[in-house]
């Protein structure tokens, strides 16, 4: 009987270490064109087996290659959400209504706001006593972009804020080239960034694509992994091409990179060690004893 009780207690302890939050949202994006007023709704569903707390927030999206920032201001201020906090039991769903009103003094053609739908569990962890215990709560978020396109004159313009290249690349490790561009126009811009590496013996090209909204910065990271036989000083020429409505003059920048093969370093070290070993003279001591 005691064994059964202990087993049950152990089972309960391990079963308590389990977790999930299940969040479903539809539709997944809105695109509003040539209107300053829009009403819409999203459906939020708890498709899991645990009750969840849901909050709806309105934000502006700032995004680059790696990061996503959800900030206040700008298009976030144009969005009004009717249902901002509620609880969903398993398999329950709720419609969330929102409105977008663009101010008349807004001078950009393109902007993007977002509904940020967050689900967190209702359960809270309890301290069981003893040493240091670690519990991580889990939440899920679905971000629903609201893309806004307005009529008006078109100004396409990107500006290079900075361009950084590594000084030395030791293969087989890769090198990262970073550049930041700012959209100084009034329309969303897609761009293609190409890094051309001109070396003593060969040339390599790597490229990347992205998009940036008016007034925003975008930091792109392009990775280049030199080949086994790449060696020497490389000229790194960056060229950023853009122009959503009409092709624009590309943005260009130049830097230099020194590529050193890792195997060459190992070889030089081995040669130095070998020379050191061969060149070291060991004195021979002879002792003559007289009888």
């Amino acid at each position: 009987m005691r064994r059964v009780v202990v087993t049950l207690i152990l089972l309960l302890f391990f079963l308590s270490s389990v977790s999930a939050v299940s969040l479903l949202v539809s539709p997944t994006r809105f695109e509003i064109k040539n209107t300053s007023h829009f009403s819409g709704k999203v459906t939020v569903t708890n498709f899991g087996n645990e009750t969840i707390e849901v909050t709806i927030d309105k934000k502006r999206i700032l995004k680059d290659k790696i990061h996503l920032l959800l900030v206040d201001g700008g298009p976030a201020d144009w969005i009004k959400v009717k249902e901002t906090r509620f609880t969903l039991k398993p398999k329950e769903y709720k419609d969330v209504h929102f409105e977008v009103n663009v101010p008349s003094n807004y001078n950009y053609r393109d902007a993007v706001g977002a509904l940020v739908i967050r689900a967190t569990p209702k359960a809270t962890p309890q301290y069981k006593g003893g040493g240091a215990q670690f519990v991580i709560m889990q939440g899920a978020e679905v971000i629903v972009p609201i893309v806004i396109g307005l009529s008006g004159p078109i100004k396409e313009s990107l500006k290079l804020e900075n361009f950084k290249a590594p000084i030395i690349i030791i293969t087989p490790l890769p090198g990262e080239f970073r550049y930041t561009i700012k959209n100084t126009g009034n329309t969303y811009q897609n761009f293609t960034g190409t890094i051309t590496l001109n070396g003593w013996f060969n040339t390599a090209k790597v490229n990347s694509t992205g998009g940036v909204y008016p007034g925003d910065n975008y930091t792109d990271v392009i990775t280049w992994r030199p080949g086994l036989w790449d060696l020497g000083v490389y000229g790194a020429d960056a060229k950023i091409e853009y122009g959503r409505y009409n092709p624009q003059k590309p943005i260009e920048a130049t830097s230099q990179v020194i590529v050193i093969p890792g195997w060459l370093i190992v070889l030089i070290i081995l040669l130095i060690v070998l020379r050191f070993i061969r060149g070291k003279k060991i004195p021979i001591k002879i002792k003559i004893e007289r009888e």
Partner: protein, 185 residues
Amino acid sequence: MKDFLPILLLAGIIMLIVGMAYDQPVNAEVSPSATQTLQANVTETIAITATWNGQENGTINLGDLPADNVEKKWEGGDTAEQVHSYSNVAIDLYVKASGNLANGTNTIPLSNLKYADYDASVGKTSFTTAYTKVLEEWGPPEHLGSLTVPVDFYLTVPLAARPGLYTTTIFHAAVQAGGEAPTSP
């Protein structure tokens, strides 16, 4: 009466034969209004779940850990952390944490908590409070299917960390791949 019996019988047979010849099956004429077309438009949907040990409760309990400054690993999988997508569009997946692991006023830096893998060779990376992309254009799954990726966790408890319950919250966020860009000029 007996003399009329054969005649009556014959008349009855004749009537039966004539009746059968003129018998028409009764059919209801099909009315157009009885035929209905049913249709449903399935909209684009994002559905994600993050599970620990394959079940639901809301917390990841890493248990009791000594303050030994040694990194511990919990490898993602069926008995640990997984992220699932049941979306019908491709998504970009991001991850962040709410802040340091806290026990009242005692905290352990969030940089001591790390993630990796996602079945995409995501290198060991410290959590931050800003979203970092871990999967790009993930999915969508096959029709009626799902996708699952494991997530490794790492935690280092510094020396002299006070006893108690330390908590933080991690968030996985999904956005439709390319969803924040305009579709056309």
